[in-house]
């Protein structure tokens, strides 16, 4: 898991497409340190049986062909939610308002990177735990993918509210803070 003191990850350079521009790399290093200070990471996960999952996510899951296909051989379903907090995205907007496009853009991308890193870590832990118990897992699947409607975010936000109280939704079911991700992951028979 990325900590407040994590060094600039090698993968981040590629993710940000910094290329070989010396100044861009220097600035990105500075922004990484700023991003870590602003990071307010939180995550949550919960395990449901398949029946419970379809019950809790009624009617969003059962109307989704892709979810039914994903969970065809599943016995249980993990629910995942992570956030990087709103600090990074707010600072990113401040930079853009000041006309500092590089800092605004790069910090925004770093926010996305931090949220993705978190969910990758949670995903990895779930996979390892399941493997240890002799089960395989499906890939992660998020509201908004194919026919899994964004409205399903309502359920995530409700269930994760204790662990991530700041997580909420816009009227169009977009997550706030923006640098947040929810997903399901099936545990196969």
């Amino acid at each position: 898991m990325i900590q407040k003191t994590s060094p600039f990850p090698d993968r981040l350079s590629k993710y940000l497409q910094l290329g070989s521009h010396e100044k861009a790399r220097q600035e990105a290093q500075f922004l990484w340190e700023e991003a870590l200070v602003l990071l307010k990471a939180a995550n949550w996960r919960s395990l449901l049986t398949v029946d419970e999952f379809f019950d809790v996510f009624h009617p969003y899951a059962e109307s989704s062909q892709s979810i039914r296909r994903l969970l065809r051989c599943a016995r249980e379903v993990w629910l995942l939610a992570v956030t990087a907090g709103d600090g990074v995205e707010r600072r990113s907007r401040e930079y853009l308002k000041k006309g500092e496009a590089f800092r605004g853009y790069v910090l925004d991308r770093m926010g996305s990177f931090l949220a993705e890193e978190q969910i990758r870590q949670v995903d990895k832990i779930i996979s390892e735990e399941s493997t240890g118990k002799g089960y395989k897992t499906t890939r992660r699947y998020s509201p908004g993918y194919r026919d899994f409607p964004l409205e399903a975010q309502v359920v995530f936000v409700d269930l994760a509210s204790c662990a991530i109280p700041e997580l909420r939704l816009t009227s169009d079911f977009l997550l706030v803070p923006e640098k947040s991700i929810t997903a399901i992951k099936g545990v196969l028979e």
């Binding site: 910094l18 290329g19 990105a28 853009l96 169009d172 977009l174």
Partner: protein, 541 residues
């Protein structure tokens, strides 16, 4: 650096045919008529480097190819050579005509440089043996092709020497067919022969190859040519760093779409723009991207040279300072940009030059490099930031400010609150000198159409990051059409759309990212201004 630096000239002298009553066929054979056409042309067009109305097939004809002549078209090969002839230029009538014209030019314009126009061995091989045959022979029969190239090289060397003896000062070689060679084969089938051709002359030399030569620039430089003449399709800002300072970058105003087809004022504006970008380079010569067509309006050719020369002269005293500023901005040094702007202001360099040739040059170079996939978006944005830091020091010095009627309306569509992508497009547009009305996020169709009506804007950019927002796009586009605003060009962008979706919903274009969106909008506005046409006609959908 050679004597080509700082010159202003269109390539060749073909519009001269308008100044005599005889047709091109007669001009091609008659030294008196050709001299009259060329001299009259250069009496009007005050170019620094003179050509003698050359046609591309003269060496092929001398080597046995049959040529078709017509009064209203340039000569072309009608039949490849049955037998390859090794000609002696002094015994080939049309070569002798050109030598005589060169001598007359020397008499009438003794203080001006005169140039050969010799065609490269590979191009001539294609003319005498058939272009497809030659391109096939690269794989099937390279040894035989090399034998042919030795002969076309011999002809080019003889012809070049003959013209230099007749008073030419510059050995100019054009080798258009070599642009079709795979870059790795360029040295073997074109570059090495060109090098042997250039080796005959210690004076100024130049190599012109038509088309996109970005993959063979190093090969062109290795020929030993003292100047590289770039086609109009090349963005000089993207390739300038690959050309050593002792080699002249020659280019590259569009001879057809600009000089031939635009108005005199637009030719002047485009020339000024090119000079603004390239005039600060110590190794730059202003020219056209290829020969001006015979039908080019004479006033346009005249205006190109006059405007170019006066713009270069205005820039010359400040070139070094402006180049330093452009380089600092290009490195993304925000504080350095501000410091240098203040310094050049103290030296009384006009604010417009500081913006055009210093600050904006760096942004346009970054965009050009991005377009050529030489850098990524963050680098472009870093340079845009440095641009703004420098620009802030200038804002009070600009008479006609950037505030004013918006040219473009931008917004993230209803249901979507993502603003980063849209903000980047706005920042990039403003850095490129355009005025933008940013409606913000969660904008419905009515607000877009209202803004367009209020300001008479002709380009709208819609951003959509989410699937829900994407669904809004076609409705907004329909609303424009239904409300009689179908003349408005609508571009879409954002993570939720792609080129196919853009087409499907009836958008006029799709911008993959901020740089591409800006390029697209720039093109729409530029071409709209050029022809006073409806901007949507030029959208890239």
């Amino acid at each position: 650096m050679g004597t080509l630096h700082g010159l202003v000239f269109p390539i060749n002298a073909l519009p001269g045919c308008q100044l005599v009553k005889e047709g091109i066929d007669r001009i091609s054979f008659d030294a008196d008529v050709k001299s009259e056409a060329v001299i009259r042309y250069y009496e009007r067009v005050d170019a620094d480097l003179l050509f003698y109305f050359s046609d591309i097939v003269i060496q092929a004809e001398a080597m046995g190819a049959k040529i078709k002549f017509a009064p209203d078209a340039m000569p072309c090969v009608s039949e490849t050579a049955q037998e390859i002839i090794s000609p002696s230029p002094s015994r080939v009538g049309r070569m002798e005509v050109n030598a005589r014209v060169l001598r007359r030019l020397a008499g009438v314009f003794p203080h001006k440089l005169r140039s050969t126009l010799v065609y490269g061995p590979f191009t001539v091989a294609g003319q005498v043996a058939g272009e497809q045959n030659v391109l096939r022979a690269i794989i099937d029969n390279p040894d035989e092709l090399e034998g042919l190239l030795e002969k076309t090289l011999e002809c080019a060397i003889d012809y070049g020497r003959y013209l230099l003896d007749a008073g030419a000062d510059v050995l100019w070689v054009s080798d258009p067919l070599s642009a079709l060679l795979p870059p790795e084969l360029f040295p073997r089938f074109a570059g090495d022969y060109l090098a042997r051709l250039f080796a005959i002359y210690p004076g100024p030399t130049a190599l012109h190859i038509c088309g996109d030569t970005s993959a063979m620039i190093e090969g062109m430089i290795e020929t030993g040519a003292g100047g590289i003449s770039f086609d109009q399709c090349m963005n000089l800002l993207a390739v300038e760093d690959r050309v050593p300072e002792n080699i002249i970058i020659i280019g590259n105003l569009d001879p057809v779409e600009v000089v031939e087809m635009m108005s005199t004022e637009q030719v002047a504006a485009q020339t000024a723009d090119l000079v603004s970008m390239m005039g600060i380079k110590p190794n730059f010569a202003l020219s056209t991207g290829c020969a001006l067509p015979p039908s080019t309006p004479m006033d346009n050719a005249i205006n190109f040279v006059e405007e170019g020369r006066s713009r270069l002269a205005l820039l010359a005293p400040h070139a070094e300072d402006l180049a330093a500023l452009a380089a600092t901005v290009h490195k993304g040094h925000r504080d350095g940009a501000a410091t240098l702007v203040k310094r050049v202001l103290n030296r009384r360099i006009p604010a417009r030059s500081i913006i055009g040739s210093g600050l904006m040059r760096a942004v346009r170079k970054a965009s050009a490099r991005y377009e050529y996939r030489l850098c990524f978006l963050p680098e472009v944005l870093l340079i845009v930031d440095a641009f703004y830091q420098g620009y802030k020091c200038l804002e009070t010095k600009i008479d006609a400010g950037r505030e004013g009627t918006p040219q473009i309306v931008l917004g993230t569509v209803k249901g979507d609150f993502h603003e980063i992508g849209k903000d980047l497009v706005r920042i990039m547009l403003e850095a490129n000198g355009m005025t933008v009305l940013d409606l913000g996020v969660n904008v419905d169709g009515a607000r877009f159409t209202e803004a367009v009506r209020l300001f008479g804007v002709s380009v709208v950019g819609l951003s959509a990051f989410t699937t829900a927002a994407r669904r809004q796009l076609s409705g907004i586009i329909d609303q424009f059409r239904q409300e009689g605003l179908s003349h408005v060009s609508i571009l879409v962008g954002g993570a939720a759309v792609n080129e196919k979706i853009a087409r499907d919903i009836g958008a006029n274009g799709y911008g993959r990212d901020a740089v591409e969106a800006v390029k697209m909008i720039e093109n729409i506005l530029k071409r709209s201004r050029a022809s006073n046409h409806d901007p949507k006609d030029f959208a890239l959908s």
